[in-house]
């Protein structure tokens, strides 16, 4: 069974750039064009990994999606999906990215990839996150 990856990204060209290397490496790619649609598709598809753009239609959409998915509330409708690794796309300056990383309270995600996307970096992070989550 190929691994399923959900890309939550509102820019169709960026989706293409992500899709090319992922599909070439046998991943099954699904796309949501907004945070809301992303949350919906998480329930429908139950993906193995979520790639999430932090800044979409609003600057907080990506943050809200990750906070909802990682809600500590066991009654949350997203509780069954809490374990799905999240890789975020950022466009932060190189220097600031030194201090910009996963943070349980602020941005509960597993790893991040800087834009522009380097396909090899993307693939190695995707591989590592899926392996780690399957091992748990």
């Amino acid at each position: 069974m190929p691994h399923k990856i959900l890309i939550v990204e509102d820019d169709p060209d960026m989706v293409t750039a992500l899709r090319m290397p992922l599909e070439a490496n046998g991943y099954e790619v699904y796309v949501a064009a907004s945070g809301q649609e992303g949350l919906q598709k998480v329930k429908e598809i139950n993906p193995d990994l979520i790639i999430l753009d932090v800044m979409m239609e609003t600057t907080t959409a990506g943050f809200q999606v990750s906070l909802q998915l990682r809600s500590p509330d066991p009654r949350s409708e997203y509780a069954p999906y809490r374990h799905i690794p999240i890789l975020i796309l950022t466009a932060i300056h190189t220097t600031t990215s030194l201090r910009f990383g996963p943070d349980e309270a602020y941005l509960p995600v597993d790893d991040f990839v800087d834009k522009p996307i380097d396909p090899e970096v993307l693939l190695s992070k995707v591989r590592a996150l899926i392996e780690k989550s399957k091992a748990q």
Partner: protein, 375 residues
Amino acid sequence: MKLGEVLDVLMAAAAQVADADAVAVLLLEGERLTVAARRGLPNDWPVPVGESPADREALMGQAVTVGEAERPDVPFPPGFSSLLCVPLSLPTRPLGVLRAYRRKPPPFSAADAECLLALASLGAAAVQSARETAELERIEAAKSRFIHVATHELRSPIAVAQSLVRGIVKGYAGPLTDQQQDLFSRVSARLDFLEHLVNDLLDLAASRAPELAEEECAVAVNASVGRAALLLMPRAEEKGVSLLFRPCCEELAVIATEEGLDRIFVNLIENGIKYTPPGGTVTVTMGQKEGEVWVKIADTGIGIPPEAMPHLFEEFYRAPNARAINAVGTGLGLTIVKELVERYRGRIEVESEVGKGTTFTVTFPAVGPPTCGLS
């Protein structure tokens, strides 16, 4: 204080000094007076503007007192018996008028008028200052908005285009001929440059807008240089340049922002790597001397010709030998570095010999133990 708050304070003070039951402030918008604030007047009474000769006389610079029925051309709110109208003026021009109303006798006296005139001249200065503050805030907000828009709207399409091209170059859109591979690689290099340029322009804009920066604190220099070296280590390795970092034994700190100090060291070390041929070395050392912290970034690179030295920190300037080796550069890096160093009360010096290498030394006033950058 915001204009609304200034007007509230002004009206409260006016009611007190003139023993008035109601007050209105009318401000000029172009040639016309408009009601800016009112208190104590009947809600259903629309303060008449533009038709009261009392306002016109006050705008000429005098205090005007009028009793009800004395002058049928001056409109009165129902239930009020006297009006005192004074100019709100700067020494150079009128801003508007301040009207005070009393319900019952006695009518306003000459002493009331004098008190209100004195208050109004203070009030005019406060109104003007609030308006200038609001204008500055508007400009600042516009500037921040521009930088935000530039960040997103300019960088985002470049990042998308670059991501697509990288996918093509790596063959994810199918095999490429040698010529296509070469052409797409050139497109990719141009996009890299564009991304760099936009980032540098944004950094420069940010370094010139201190209010956009984080608050300054005592930043640990060791940690800042360490972060920069760590970030650039892969690039040095890739190029075959040794990057040596000798942290100092002491906890040195300078007053700066973490991001700004990191940016200084990242730019200088990055330059060192860029202009040093494979096999060369970039060495970063630091220390403290006579109340100052110094950091030296020394490379064994191509060096800077003497004729380029005076222009080194100018915007968009690139030394001819730097252009010649075709290294990607925007000519903004050192401008940004110098502006940041000076903002943090430091100085930057450069020594160089063509073919031997370049040493940049940045020096800052030393301060006590670090208060930020400890995380």
